[in-house]
């Protein structure tokens, strides 16, 4: 079977395998969903006891312990791992990640941790896709697209939103919208959604009543965009802060997670809507069934942000999607009530309308992915009539939050390490070129004891410009002679027997090592105004590297990557 796949046209291959990947992603999401439901049922009786606030702490501790000791799948935060793998590692992901995160996430959320099931399902789907691709011995480029498909299938099946899945994969994970990508990912997403519908039924998660909107509401949207912007920036910054501070203060990971969980449990005592993934709370917002009170709504927003940061920042396993939706809907709720309070004369649209828009705003801003936000909200609420407002809020909120936090929450870590390399960018091309590929050998090696007279003879016999000096006994590189540097001495025959090569060479020319990264090498070129540098490894000269050759290779890389 493996071999017959290879005989097909590449696009056809990707479509078929994409479909398989879609099934994988779909199953992963159904599995997690079922286990969350089961978990909720299982823990339900315990929630009425006094010690229920300790549940998130236990869940968080168990989740991290499981991940570390049982699954041995340490590290990563889900989506950033997938992005790193896609940009730097040809889409390779560990097989164990396909199930370990699901279990761990179940423990975190079922016990009340404030996180969503999305990130773990994304990495599960992506990992399944990656390993399927490896099984079929596919190359990096194809594997990367399939990983994108896995991620799309995951999101699509969780939310029953195929287009949102595609948008998320292209916007956040792959970073580029090319025809090949689109087809494969589209198939995976569609199949994933279908799997979910077959096994869980085709419902729209948050269906609401039709809306009556007036022009004033559109104006109101603008204000909402500002609020969602602030909510998102607050979330992102607090998350970063909690991560840094908690990893510095508590070094034992499961205690750290447990502390986070404990605090969440305490907050949950006051604001129960803050716990778990929060879909119930969202339904309340949309269904007019959330209790009254402007301040209460505001508190829930803050509380949910804090709880999410405490859960995820201390090591709990879960995604940000669902919490963003909750935060968004409550921000909308708060804003609507604020409007009503400030301008009771105007007939504002109902709470569900603003809740919806709030969700769109927050998701778009946190992920810095407006398309994903727009499609997701539209698909999960069936609210096409409010498309205009959704677009407005998403776009404005993204633009505003970009000023404060230019990179999405997923990309920040990577950017901090200089690891975010989008295709066909300067840094990406440079990172793919290896110094061994650029070595040139257009030189003649000389020894330090050679006299100028002999050197001149050598010059007569060849046309090279560079003469590296190498120790005759140890073979170690000592310095470089460039033809131009010694022009003035060439005609002074008096000195032919008294000048040695070692006196003519420049030992200060910076050397490049095989392990150096090209951006650093180019930096060295810039500073010294050299156009050619020696590549030395273990003291031995391996070759020369020149800016001109780098340009040739650079162009070739770009040309080869172009899609026809």
């Amino acid at each position: 079977m493996r071999f017959s796949i290879h005989n097909l046209n590449e696009r056809l291959q990707l479509i078929l395998i994409g479909a398989v990947v879609g099934v994988g992603g779909g199953l992963a999401s159904v599995a997690l969903n079922r286990s969350l439901e089961w978990g909720a049922e299982f823990l339900h009786p315990y929630r009425h006891h006094w010690y229920s606030f300790l549940l998130p702490a236990c869940g968080a501790a168990l989740s991290t312990l499981f991940l570390f000791h049982v699954a041995r799948d340490v590290g990563g935060h889900g989506v950033p791992e997938v992005i790193y793998s896609v940009t730097r590692r040809g889409g390779l992901l560990r097989l164990r990640s396909s199930f370990s995160r699901l279990v761990s996430c179940c423990l975190t959320i079922a016990s009340g941790g404030s996180a969503g099931p999305e990130s773990p399902v994304v990495i599960s789907g992506a990992s399944v896709a990656s390993n399927i691709a490896s099984f079929f011995r596919l190359r990096d480029r194809q594997r990367v697209v399939l990983v994108g498909g896995g991620a799309a299938a995951a999101i699509a099946s969780i939310f029953n939103a195929p287009v949102a899945g595609i948008a998320f994969s292209l916007e956040a994970i792959l970073g580029e919208w090319t025809p090949t990508n689109l087809i494969t990912i589209g198939v995976a997403s569609a199949v994933g959604t279908e799997v979910s519908r077959l096994l869980q039924g085709n419902q729209i998660p948050f269906e609401g009543e039709p809306f009556i909107i007036s022009d004033m509401d559109l104006v109101g949207c603008l204000g909402l965009a500002v609020f969602t912007c602030f909510a998102s920036v607050f979330l992102v910054r607090l998350l970063r802060y909690v991560r840094e501070v908690s990893s510095k203060t508590i070094s034992i990971f499961w205690i750290r997670a447990a502390c986070g969980g404990l605090l969440v449990g305490l907050i949950g005592l006051l604001l129960p809507s803050v716990m778990g993934e929060g879909y119930g709370a969202i339904r309340n917002c949309i269904g007019y069934t959330y209790g009254p009170g402007l301040v209460l709504a505001g508190l829930v927003v803050v509380g949910k942000i804090v709880a999410t940061c405490l859960t995820i920042g201390t090591g709990g396993m879960g995604g940000l999607f669902a919490p963003c939706l909750v935060i968004g809907s409550f921000t909308g709720l708060f804003y609507q009530r604020l409007l009503v309070h400030l301008a009771p004369g105007i007939h504002w649209a109902g709470e569900p309308y603003f809740a919806l828009l709030g969700m769109a705003g927050v998701i778009s801003s946190v992920l810095q992915a407006p398309m994903t936000g727009i499609f997701l909200i539209t698909e999960i609420t069936g609210g096409y009539q409010v498309l205009v407002s959704v677009v407005l809020v998403s776009v404005i909120s993204v633009t505003l939050s970009h000023i404060f936090e230019p990179f999405s929450v997923y990309h920040q870590e990577l950017v901090a390490h200089g690891e975010l390399l989008r295709p066909r960018t300067d840094r990406r091309v440079l990172s793919e070129l290896r110094i061994t590929e650029l070595l040139e050998h257009n030189y003649h090696v000389v020894h330090p004891e050679m006299r100028l007279r002999e050197f001149v003879e050598l010059l007569k016999r060849n046309e090279y410009h560079f003469f590296p000096v190498v120790d005759s006994k140890t073979g170690k590189y000592l310095g470089l002679i460039h033809f131009d540097d010694i022009r003035s001495y060439l005609f002074d025959t008096n000195l032919y027997d008294s000048l040695l090569v070692e006196e003519l060479m420049d030992p200060t020319v910076p050397t490049v090592s095989l392990d150096d990264e090209l951006p650093e090498v180019l930096e060295i070129f810039e500073q010294g105004h050299d156009s050619t540098l020696p590549v030395v490894h273990d003291g031995r000269l391996l070759g020369l590297i020149s800016k001109a050759t780098i340009l040739d290779h650079y162009r070739r890389e770009l040309i080869v990557e172009e899609e026809v």
Binding site: S488, D492, N494, L495, D497, S498, L500, E503, M505
Partner: protein, 222 residues
């Protein structure tokens, strides 16, 4: 603060034509004032920062050949002139020379002699017509003065295994802190030695001032 087109071109080390093309394509932030293009300093800097483009700040004209401003005349004056330096072999005259010369305190005489001999071993510093230019193998990096050339007229002519097999009657002991400086001084000395008058003067020279004057004269014509 406002910057003009010329200044921006200098800061980016690019021709004005490129900057103009970028302006047209919208790749660089600019404002139009009347009929001129004007750039806001802050804006330009933040643009350069986000695109990782280095800006060249006010650059002083490159320091003039750092370390090679010493003339042969100065070096020879610093090194001094010594007459009737004794010794019958290469090692002996070099030892004598090292002992006589006013070396700066940080120079270890024995170490220097070792290095001089090392250099002689590789190939003779006798460049012909009875002149030798002994210098240490590898420049003396920690030399407090940039360079010095000590002229030693030998009591006896010594076989230095020179190229032209003529025995050597005068040594120019050359000490420099960098190879570049050494090469420069050597090149000037060689220039002087090509002058027949200079060589003749050397053979009969008994006065340091005469030597210095002639060197100054020849250097001036360079």
């Amino acid at each position: 603060m406002k910057i003009g087109l010329k200044e921006v071109a200098r800061m980016l080390d690019l021709p004005e034509a490129t900057i103009l093309r970028w302006i047209r394509q919208g790749k660089i932030p600019v404002q139009v004032e009347g009929d001129r293009y004007v750039f806001m300093d802050k804006q330009l800097r933040s643009w350069a920062r986000t695109h990782n483009i280095p800006l060249k700040e006010n650059v002083e004209p490159a320091a003039p050949n750092n370390g090679t401003e010493v003339t042969l005349y100065e070096a020879m004056k610093r090194g001094g002139v010594f007459f009737d330096v004794g010794g019958g072999s290469v090692e002996e005259v070099l030892k004598q020379a090292v002992d006589l010369v006013n070396l700066p305190p940080e120079v270890d005489r024995e170490y220097l002699l070792e290095r001089l001999l090392q250099r002689e071993e590789l190939t003779s510093t006798g460049i012909g017509e009875g002149v030798a230019i002994p210098h240490p193998r590898y420049p003396m990096e920690n030399l407090s003065v940039k360079a010095m050339v000590a002229t030693c007229f030998l009591n006896n002519e010594v076989n230095f295994h020179s190229v032209d097999r003529k025995p050597v009657f005068v040594l120019f002991l050359m000490l420099s802190s960098t190879t570049k400086l050494h090469l420069k001084l050597l090149s000037r000395l060689s220039f002087c030695l090509r002058d027949k008058g200079f060589l003749k003067m050397l053979r009969t020279c008994r006065s340091a001032d005469v030597l210095f004057a002639k060197v100054k004269e020849l250097e001036a014509s360079l």
